[in-house]
Symmetry: D2
Subunit: 116 residues, 4 copies
C-alpha cells in the first residue's frame, strides 16, 4: 500500500524517465526549480494588503503554483530518499518543545535553539 | 479516515491555536515563511559541484530544512483550503501534454504554454 | 575613474582570488547564493504586521542581509559582465511605458507586456 | 553630487509617486517583490549543466531579470534608508576576517561566525 505522496512521486518519476530527463533532475537543480516556483508564488502575494482576499483568477494561479511547488518538493525528496512527512513531524516536535505555549502565547519572537 | 497530509495539517493547526498564533499565519506571511525556508535549503546546495554527494552533516540539515518546507507548505494549503496532491497531479497532467516525450526527449528547453 | 559598484566588484574579486574560490563562483552557484541571502532577508519580515516598524536588532540584521544580497548581486553581475545600473534603468523605462500613470494610478494590477 | 545608485533610487521614487503607489511599497512588500524577481533569475539557471554557457536569448532574459532585481533592491534600500554599498563593504570586511586565506584556500566549507 502506498501513500498519496508516494503515488505522486512515482508518477513524476515515470514522467521524467519517459523523457530521459534524469540527468537534469539532480538535487541541486531540483532545489533551484523549487525556489523558482516558490518565487512565482511569492509574487502572487506581494502587493496584497493584509486581510485582502484573493480574487478568483489569483486563486486559480495560486492553486497552480502550489501544485508546481508540491511537485518539485516531492520529486526532490524522492531523489534524495527523504520522507517529507516524517521530517515535518520531527521539526514540529522540536518546535513544540522550543515554543512553550505559556511563554510564547501571542508572540512572534524567535525562541533560542534547543540545547543539543 | 484522513491522509498523512491532513494529519500533519491538523497537528500544525493545534500547535498554532495553542499559542494564539493565528493572527501571524495569514497566507501572505506563510508564503514568506515558506520562501525563507526554501532559501535555507538552497544555501545547502550552493557551492556543491555537480554530482558531489552531501556529507552526513549536510544530509541531516537538508532533511531538517525539507521538514520545515513541508510544514509551511502544508500549513499554507490548510489556511487556503487547497488540496496539494490534487493541485500537483493537475499540473503534472498539464506537463504530460505540454512535453511530448518524442519531441522533448533529453532536452531541457521550455515548451510553449498549452492553448486555453 | 570607477564607480562605487565597480569598486565593490573589484574588492570582491580580489577576495575570491586570494582564496582560490573562482571554481565555486560560477553564475549558477552565485545565483543560488543570492537566493539564499534573499531568503534570510524575507525571513526577517515574515511575521511583521503591516506598518509595524523594525526594532533595533532586526534593523541591524536587515542591514547585514542587504549587504550580503548586494555583494552577491554585484559579484554575479561582475562574473556575467552585466551592468546592473544600465539593466535597471532599461527595465524602469519599460515600466514607465507599460504603466500609464493615468490608467494605473493607485492600482496594483499587472499591465500586459509591451508589444515587441 | 549623487551616485549612480542614488540616481536610480530617485528615478524609481518619482515613478512610484507619479502612480500613487507608495502604499504598496512597504518594506515587507518590496522584500517579496525582490524575492519574486530572484526566483525568476534562479529559474533561468536551474537546468544548466556546470560550465554550460547561456545562449543569446537566455542572456537577454538574465540581463532583464538582473535589472528587476537591482531595481527592487535599490528601491527597498531607499525606503529603509540603508546604504547598500556601505552595507556590502561591511560584510566583506567581516568575511575577510572570518575566512583566513591560508586556512580556507580552495575550500567551500563554512567558517564559524566571528566572536562578537
Amino acid at each position: 500500500m502506498s501513500t498519496e505522496i508516494e503515488e505522486l512521486a512515482a508518477r513524476f518519476r515515470t514522467f521524467v524517465e519517459a523523457r530521459d530527463w534524469e540527468r537534469f533532475h539532480t538535487p541541486k537543480n531540483l532545489v533551484m526549480a523549487l525556489a523558482g516556483e516558490v518565487g512565482e508564488l511569492v509574487a502572487e502575494f506581494q502587493w496584497l494588503a493584509p486581510g485582502e482576499p484573493l480574487d478568483e483568477e489569483t486563486t486559480a494561479r495560486v492553486r497552480a503554483e502550489l501544485g508546481d511547488v508540491t511537485g518539485y518538493l516531492v520529486r526532490l525528496a524522492d531523489v534524495l530518499g527523504v520522507d517529507l512527512i516524517a521530517a515535518a513531524h520531527a521539526k514540529l516536535s522540536e518546535s513544540e518543545k522550543r515554543y512553550d505555549p505559556a511563554t510564547y502565547r501571542g508572540s512572534a519572537r524567535k525562541a533560542p535553539p534547543l540545547p543539543p
